[in-house]
């Protein structure tokens, strides 16, 4: 698009904005939105190489435009395009954020990378020589810049077999990737033990079980528990102590 027409004639826009400010006429609003479509297209085009269809970006950008038309105050002396650009770009960037595209882009790069690798082999056979970047780009339907990016970065996102060989030093015995993969997280195991806990509580004698339940599940104080079970608070304290000790023992035995 030439740069000539993405910002419409200021004086005409100004006149319409003044009219819209006065009468809030729906038709004037439509007209203002329509005449700034090219600004949205221009800005959306800047983000077009990020793996989302341009038309989608134009649509979310248009939401920003509509908001900007509704909120713009010509009296403040800002040009509308200056006012609307952050709003439009904001919508487009939020769209990328919401789409979790940081996951999607590596995937796209990886696909491009695989396509490029295939194209390199196929073209080498066909041409009898190593293909140029321009030839690869043409074969996979990407720009040269995208092709270079994909070749450079796509490798980093390649899925790798656990049995693939890694060697840190060329003369050391080859190791496989699996040997570098970390072990189980101890903290995660403790999660399982919470499951075991209920079994352990079941194994307690009746009164201990009652105390544990009232103290820790119903959040009663020792005094309240004492009242409830009609025993002294001292006794509750002792029983609670014993119950916790046997729970600990039971859990350790299960391990």
């Amino acid at each position: 698009m030439s740069s000539a027409n993405f910002v419409p004639d200021d004086s005409e826009a100004e006149r319409l904005f003044r009219e819209y400010a006065r009468a809030r006429d729906e038709q004037v609003r439509e007209q203002l939105i329509a005449m700034h479509q090219n600004l949205v297209r221009f800005l959306a085009g800047k983000f077009a190489n990020r793996g989302e269809p341009l038309e989608d970006l134009v649509q979310v950008g248009a939401i920003g435009l509509v908001n900007a038309v509704d909120r713009y105050d010509a009296e403040r002396g800002n040009k509308f395009s200056t006012y609307a650009t952050p709003t439009i770009v904001g919508e487009i960037r939020r769209y990328f954020r919401d789409k979790a595209w940081s996951l999607k882009v590596p995937r796209r790069l990886q696909e491009l990378n695989q396509a490029a690798n295939k194209a390199v082999d196929a073209l080498a056979v066909k041409l009898g020589r190593s293909p140029t970047v321009a030839e690869i780009a043409k074969a996979i339907g990407a720009t040269e810049e995208e092709t270079l990016e994909a070749i450079e970065l796509g490798n980093a996102y390649d899925t790798v077999s656990l049995d693939s060989r890694m060697s840190l030093e060329s003369d050391s015995a080859p190791m496989t990737l699996a040997e570098f993969v970390g072990g189980e997280d101890e903290a995660l195991k403790s999660l399982q033990q919470y499951g075991d806990l209920s079994a352990a509580i079941e194994a307690l004698e009746e009164r201990e079980k009652a105390i544990i339940q009232l103290r820790f599940f119903k959040d009663l104080s020792q005094a309240e528990v004492a009242k409830n079970l009609n025993i002294s608070q001292m006794h509750v304290s002792r029983l609670q102590h014993r119950a916790l000790a046997s729970l600990k023992k039971l859990l350790l035995e299960q391990k």
Partner: protein, 162 residues
């Protein structure tokens, strides 16, 4: 000759003394659209090493591309012969600074704010939008006259808390 030596020395001094753990990547390209892609690729290489997310890297690249596009516009308007752009990326743990400096000899030294004939107003529109985009995409933007004529745009993007 001695003048040039002075300049080289002072440049080295600045880079060594002010930034201990910093790395600088400098690229000079012809001030023409064909080479903006080369600049964008370089920034991709530099920024993706710094723990920026993909959209952040793309934002920086877009901002640098806009700075280059503005330099190209200016060179065209000022009819500079064989103009060059220098893109200097300063990598620090806390931030990435990219300076886009055009050597479009600008007699007024006033950056992009100069008298504009009517025919250039549309190009001013795209330059203004480019400048606006830069403001949106990176954390800090400053524009100043470059030494020896031209304009220097400095773009700063702060690293994510790790």
């Amino acid at each position: 000759m001695s003048n040039e030596n002075d300049r080289l020395n002072s440049q080295t001094d600045r880079e060594v003394s002010s930034e201990d753990a910093a790395a600088t990547v400098t690229l000079t390209i012809p001030c023409t659209p064909e080479y903006v892609g080369t600049a964008r690729l370089t920034i991709l290489g530099v920024a993706s090493r710094m723990g920026f997310s993909y959209d952040q890297v793309e934002d920086i690249r877009l901002a640098v591309g806009e700075a280059c596009a503005n330099a190209i516009e200016r060179a065209k308007i000022l009819k500079v012969e064989n103009p060059l752009i220098t893109i200097r990326s300063l990598v620090e743990p806390s931030k990435l600074t990219v300076e886009v400096e055009d050597h479009t000899d600008n007699p007024s030294g006033e950056g992009i704010d100069q008298d504009k004939p009517a025919a250039e107003i549309e190009s001013m529109n795209s330059q203004e939008l480019g400048a606006l985009l830069m403001e949106i995409l990176v954390d800090e933007v400053s524009v100043e006259p470059a030494s020896g004529g031209g304009t220097r745009v400095r773009l700063v993007k702060f690293a994510n808390e790790s």
